[in-house]
């Protein structure tokens, strides 16, 4: 059984000879071929190359050579990571005539060096600007738990491919929530590491101040193993006796009843009472939004002058508006960011991990993409990042975990730590997983068939 198997279990089966890498790859390709038409997570398959690499792993094993830790493990990449020999389109047709990538993106190369095999590029919002993975060129990615609902974005194909059990591990990027939002809606584990901790080389940029590369996995162990491989650093010990606090104020408003109850269970388990507040949260969200708009717009301005009609109209209009922001607005947003960073760092002198919702509710319906804000329906696409955008601003590491046993479609929780303290996130996530409060949300029997 390969579908829904973890990356580490697949690697162990191959290493022990229980399964060949080629049989794993054949099953993965067949599963995608059979099931992805309902979800539309994949934009390109490297079927032939993946099979060749799987055969190479089997040949190494036959020669009794030592296998690297993820030998034969299939993985997918958001369609903005360079794969050597393949044109990186970043979810657009604008880049279709650019030369193929001369080399793999840095984190792709590190996974490949660890034996993992890239299988597919995965759907995204055009140029990563959105929370819906509704792409005018490549279609809509649907939520595997309910295909009438949004998968979230912009790394929606990456989250959906893990949720559907196609791939145990996928890569994404997160500028304002593009890993955390789809991880939450699809019920999988997602990590937005500390800004700058993983190399961004070979990942098509969006907003240089805020872009972070990261990943999705079906298990916490896979999430951790892939992180340390991509960070090219030894596994860090998980700190114990962590001081946690639940964020209130902005982060306690507009929660669905099921999510509020789930957060309450987490806080009760951790013995937390009361909440902590991030100062000036609405302004932090605004600053993050403005920096993204200005940097993204400026990046694309030369192409928008030449070929605006090639862009998805929704992306195009957002980018144009961003390109025309006054310099003073952008600089002021970056000044606020400096101030906000100081406040956040002061907060982490009192606490190790902050807890906050990832998205306020279950995945919105595609035919009614609204959420309730202050008792009124509001655009889901404009507001799914309500809780992720403010936390993007200071560049903190954030683990998005799938909450267990909510009785609903998937709901996610953000665990937030001081810069460089991913190990603290893993430690608290492990504690919640052991308590039965966190874990991948299984597909129901019919959808998993």
């Amino acid at each position: 059984m390969t579908r829904f198997a973890s990356a580490l279990a697949i690697a162990q089966d191959i290493r022990s000879g229980k399964r060949s890498a080629s049989s794993v790859m054949q099953t993965v390709l067949a599963t995608i071929d059979q099931h992805d038409s309902a979800i539309h997570s994949v934009t390109h398959l490297f079927a032939q190359q993946a099979m060749q690499q799987a055969h190479a792993v089997d040949a190494m094993l036959a020669r009794k050579e030592a296998l690297p830790p993820l030998a034969g493990v299939p993985f997918g990449v958001k369609d903005l990571f360079d794969i050597q020999g393949h044109v990186t389109t970043a979810g657009s047709i604008v880049l279709r005539n650019t030369p193929p990538a001369a080399q793999d993106a840095a984190i792709v190369a590190r996974l490949r060096a660890a034996g993992a095999i890239p299988v597919a590029t995965l759907n995204m919002d055009e140029f990563a600007y959105g929370f819906a993975t509704d792409n005018a060129h490549y279609g809509i990615t649907r939520n595997p738990h309910d295909t009438s609902r949004m998968a979230g974005g912009s790394s929606g194909g990456s989250a959906a491919a893990v949720a559907a059990g196609f791939l145990p591990l996928t890569l994404g990027t997160d500028t304002n929530g593009s890993i955390r939002v789809p991880a939450s809606l699809c019920g999988v584990w997602g990590l937005k590491p500390t800004l700058g901790r993983l190399p961004r080389a070979g990942a098509y940029p969006f907003s240089a101040s805020l872009d972070v590369v990261g990943h999705f996995a079906g298990t916490l162990d896979d999430l951790m193993a892939a992180f340390y491989i991509m960070a090219d650093s030894p596994v860090e010990p998980e700190p114990q006796n962590l001081r946690a606090a639940c964020l209130g104020g902005w982060f306690a408003q507009n929660l669905s009843p099921a999510l509020a109850a789930a957060i309450s269970r987490v806080c009760h388990h951790l013995g937390l009472s009361g909440t902590t507040e991030l100062p000036q949260t609405p302004t932090a969200r605004a600053a993050s939004f403005l920096i993204t708009a200005a940097e993204g717009g400026t990046l694309h301005l030369p192409r928008l002058r030449a070929a605006a009609e090639d862009y998805d109209p929704a992306t195009r209009d957002r980018l144009l508006a961003g390109a025309m922001l006054p310099a003073s607005t952008y600089v002021q947003a970056q000044r606020f960011r400096r101030w906000f960073r100081q406040q956040v760092h002061a907060l982490f002198e009192q606490v190790d991990v902050l807890i906050a919702p990832a998205v306020m509710c279950e995945a919105p319906r595609l035919d009614d993409p609204t959420i309730m804000l202050d008792g009124k329906p509001a655009s889901a696409r404009a507001n799914l990042g309500l809780y992720t955008q403010p936390i993007s601003l200071p560049g903190l590491p954030v683990l998005c975990l799938p909450l267990s046993n909510t009785g609903t479609l998937p709901l996610g929780l953000q665990l937030v730590a001081a810069p460089g303290r991913e190990a603290a996130l893993f430690s608290l996530a492990r504690k919640l997983e052991h308590a039965g409060l966190a874990g991948r949300c299984p597909l129901d029997t019919q959808q998993a068939a």
């Binding site: 101040s209 000036q280 609405p282 302004t283 969200r285 605004a286 600053a287 939004f289 403005l290 708009a293 301005l301 928008l304 002058r305 605006a308 009609e309 109209p313 929704a314 195009r316 209009d317 957002r318 144009l320 508006a321 961003g322 390109a323 025309m324 922001l325 006054p326 607005t329 600089v331 002021q332 947003a333 970056q334 000044r335 606020f336 960011r337 400096r338 101030w339 960073r341 404009a382």
Partner: protein
């Protein structure tokens, strides 16, 4: 937010002209809508008082 003394369309057109940017007609309504959103966010940032010593959070290192 302070009401601008002229319409959003005039504002967007003027900004585009100042950048020698020809806005395709199909873009204008969408750009205006997005500019309104950005102006609301810009007001929040603009109205937050910061000390003069607070530098932008750029990360350039020579």
């Amino acid at each position: 937010m302070t009401t601008p003394p002229f319409s959003d369309e005039v504002l967007v057109t003027a900004r585009a002209q100042s950048m020698e940017l020809a806005l395709p007609a199909a873009c204008v309504a969408g750009v205006i809508a997005n500019t309104r959103v950005l102006q609301n966010y810009a007001a929040l940032v603009r109205d937050f008082s910061l000390p003069d010593t607070c530098e932008p959070a750029g990360d350039y290192t020579p």
